[in-house]
């Protein structure tokens, strides 16, 4: 092993045996032989990476991609089926906090038990005891039994022991969410300090921001392979983009099945209640009212290429395409729309009278396009559409006529995007 490196992982493969119905005892094994069917699932399909001494890396990926398995292999809880793993120095893992804590023993006694599980001798623990107690901020409670602790105190004590082990390699699994904000910050600062002292760190986390703050390299694991590695920020952006893509696909699918269901339920419903039937372009939940002197015959959301679309990007322009017919051509109509977020928040609304100061003369049949610059942030939204007279008589008004989804790969939050630029001097 090259002395420059602390961890060398070479082409590691790991499979798990998944039993459909596991029989662990003799009776089950003999009587239900066919129950012993199992399937070998390849969780890691050949992972290689190297970590330099004093470097910190992050492992990211969606649930079940194999990142925690990788960490368990590094800890030597699991062993690879093929490939090699080499580690230089003492390894401490913050995978399970408070291992071996006994509720009836005092905090102090539990420090000894817990630290001994990390392979520390009594002398080494004696040396660190004060530091551990100080770090946990539990000076007043340290001689009380651990069962009297709150869960936050418990985790604080456990974290303090684990982080004070003085390992050469520290493995961390999703546990920087310990205690209150203050303590979290303290943990994070401590982690930085440990790193500055030359400890190699491997973090598995969904908190990408934390990885970006502390790690030099990020490994994106997908389906048991390293999909991308490099500067955390860049890897994470790609990762988020792919996650978003997956989510969008799922939404599309969901939308498609919903549409199918709608059509089906309409088929059955049409037998019983023809009068209340909503037109095809409406969502099932739409509410319609008005005198019906003017009625909408079609409502669509389109992109600028005039294609019907369901999912829009935050910065995309959206076109509302309307068709109407009227029995009375002498009228003037005030067309308007409104957008509500799924949770009921009224995001926006306007009409032609507000925008231009006048109403549109109504023909027997007509079309109208409303184009707006979308700046809404990712969520599901509903469109309301209405045509009134200039003095407020409702001709046709359909609430929640169409739903649509906004997605974005940017991580900004709120209701809508306020285009921002940062200047510094």
């Amino acid at each position: 092993m090259n002395p420059e490196y602390a961890i060398e992982v070479h082409d590691v493969k790991k499979k798990f045996r998944i039993f459909y119905d596991k029989g662990n005892d003799l009776k089950d094994r003999i009587l239900f032989r066919n129950r012993n069917h199992y399937e070998d699932r390849l969780v890691l399909k050949g992972i290689s990476f190297r970590v330099k001494k004093g470097e910190a890396i992050g492992l990211i990926g969606h649930n079940g991609c194999g990142k925690s398995t990788t960490l368990k292999l590094l800890t030597k809880i699991l062993y690879p089926d093929s490939g090699t793993i080499e580690m230089a120095g003492r390894v401490s893992s913050l995978i399970e906090l408070g291992a071996g804590f006994h509720p009836d023993m005092t905090g102090r006694e539990n420090i000894y038990t817990n630290a001994s599980i990390f392979g520390l001798t009594k002398k080494e623990i004696d040396k660190r005891l004060q530091e551990i107690i100080n770090f946990s901020e539990l000076e007043d409670f340290i001689d009380n039994p651990v069962r009297t602790y709150s869960s936050g105190m418990y985790m604080r004590l456990a974290f303090s022991v684990a982080i004070n082990v003085d390992a050469n390699i520290l493995l961390i699994d999703e546990i920087l969410a310990v205690g209150d904000a203050n303590f979290q910050k303290k943990c994070f600062d401590k982690l930085r300090e440990i790193k500055a002292h030359g400890t190699t760190i491997v973090i598995v986390s969904h908190a990408l921001g934390q990885i970006e703050q502390i790690c030099e390299t990020s490994y994106w694991i997908e389906d048991g392979l390293i999909k991308q590695s490099g500067t955390p920020k860049i890897v994470h952006d790609n990762y988020l983009k792919s996650m978003e893509l997956k989510r969008t696909e799922q939404l599309e699918k969901q939308h498609a099945t919903e549409q199918e269901k709608k059509q089906e339920s309409e088929k059955t419903a049409s037998v019983t209640q023809i009068t209340e039937k909503l037109p095809d372009f409406c969502e099932k939940t739409a509410i319609r009212m008005g005198t019906q002197e003017i009625i909408f015959t079609d409502v669509q959301l389109r992109n600028m290429q005039n294609q019907k679309q369901y999912i829009f990007d935050t910065q995309e322009k959206i076109k509302i395409f309307l068709q109407y017919k009227s029995s009375n051509t002498g009228l003037k109509g005030n067309f308007g729309y409104g957008i509500f977020r799924e949770d009921g928040l009224h995001c926006y609304g306007t009409n032609i009278l507000i925008e231009t100061g006048e109403c549109i003369p109504i023909q027997k049949q007509g079309e109208l396009e409303i184009i707006f610059q979308n700046s809404l942030l990712p969520a599901r939204y509903f469109l309301d559409i209405a045509v009134h007279s200039h003095n407020g008589i409702i001709f046709d008004d359909i609430r929640q006529v169409i739903s649509f989804v906004v997605s974005s790969s940017k991580q900004d939050i709120g209701v809508c995007r306020l285009e921002s630029s940062f200047l510094w001097r």
Binding site: K72, T75, K76, I77, I95, E96, H102, S116, I117, G119
Partner: protein
């Protein structure tokens, strides 16, 4: 092998703290607490004395002592075997979450049983002294040797069965039947001479515990130095048990976390 010893040495504090936890936890919450370690065997002895003097008088002189000096080592052995077999399974949450040499678990369990036996020996010495049986000092010096040999046998079997139990949970129940039968295959309750057929008597020596129990009784009841051959046979069994136990354990331990 050397690596394992080094690692176990590094983890010695874990073994100590597990032993301590086990010994203290055993009588936790009871009023007399740790005293039960002594009260239990003491009353066991008193009951045997009464039972075998009045209800079931035995031809063997001071049968209660004859029985007691063999029974205490036997209890250490059988509890190590049964509890030790369960020791890895009982710490599932540790094994599946944290790395440490897995041997620590059976070692700690057997050691805590061993310490328990040592404490009970205080009672044994008291009783031996009171009963008027002469004490042979050179023989007493042999006691640690035979204890160590018994520890090796017990640990080897605990390693073996604790690893097997993880993959085959029935082992625990099978073992409780085996230990039940084993006590009758060992001269604990009766002298080996009771068996008239000399061929069967020889068969008994294939049982590693036979030599061990005979050695204990030689030292404490007959106050004589045990035969060298008895000790040698026991020692060979000890080594064999340890080697076999660790061999199987090291083969199986890598897959512990996967099946838990």
């Amino acid at each position: 092998m050397i690596n394992l010893c080094k690692e176990l040495y590094a983890y010695r504090e874990m073994i100590f703290s597990l032993v301590k936890k086990d010994l203290r936890g055993r009588y936790k919450g009871s009023v007399l607490g740790f005293l039960w370690t002594f009260i239990n065997p003491l009353f066991q002895l008193i009951i045997y004395t009464i039972a075998f003097s009045f209800i079931l008088p035995s031809a063997i002189e001071k049968y209660y002592l004859y029985l007691f000096v063999a029974l205490i080592p036997w209890i250490f052995f059988s509890s190590s075997l049964q509890g030790g077999a369960n020791s890895v399974m009982a710490s599932q949450n540790l094994v599946s979450k944290i790395y440490f040499p897995r041997e620590v678990l059976p070692i700690a369990y057997v050691t805590s049983c061993f310490v328990n036996m040592l404490l009970t020996f205080i009672i044994i010495f008291l009783v031996v002294a009171c009963s008027g049986v002469p004490m042979n000092l050179t023989a007493i010096f042999c006691l640690p040797i035979i204890m160590l040999i018994e520890y090796m046998i017990a640990l080897g079997l605990a390693l073996l069965f604790s690893a097997v139990t993880v993959f085959f949970r029935d082992m625990e129940h099978i073992l409780s039947i085996i230990t039940m039968a084993w006590i009758y295959m060992t001269p604990v309750l009766y002298p080996l001479e009771t068996i008239s057929d000399s061929k069967i008597q020889k068969l008994f020596y294939f049982n590693p515990m036979t030599s061990v129990i005979i050695a204990y009784r030689d030292i404490l009841y007959y106050a004589k130095i045990p035969d060298f051959s008895t000790l040698f046979i026991a020692f060979c069994f000890g080594i064999a048990s340890l080697v076999l136990g660790e061999f199987i354990f090291s083969k199986l331990k890598k897959r512990f976390a996967e099946v838990m």
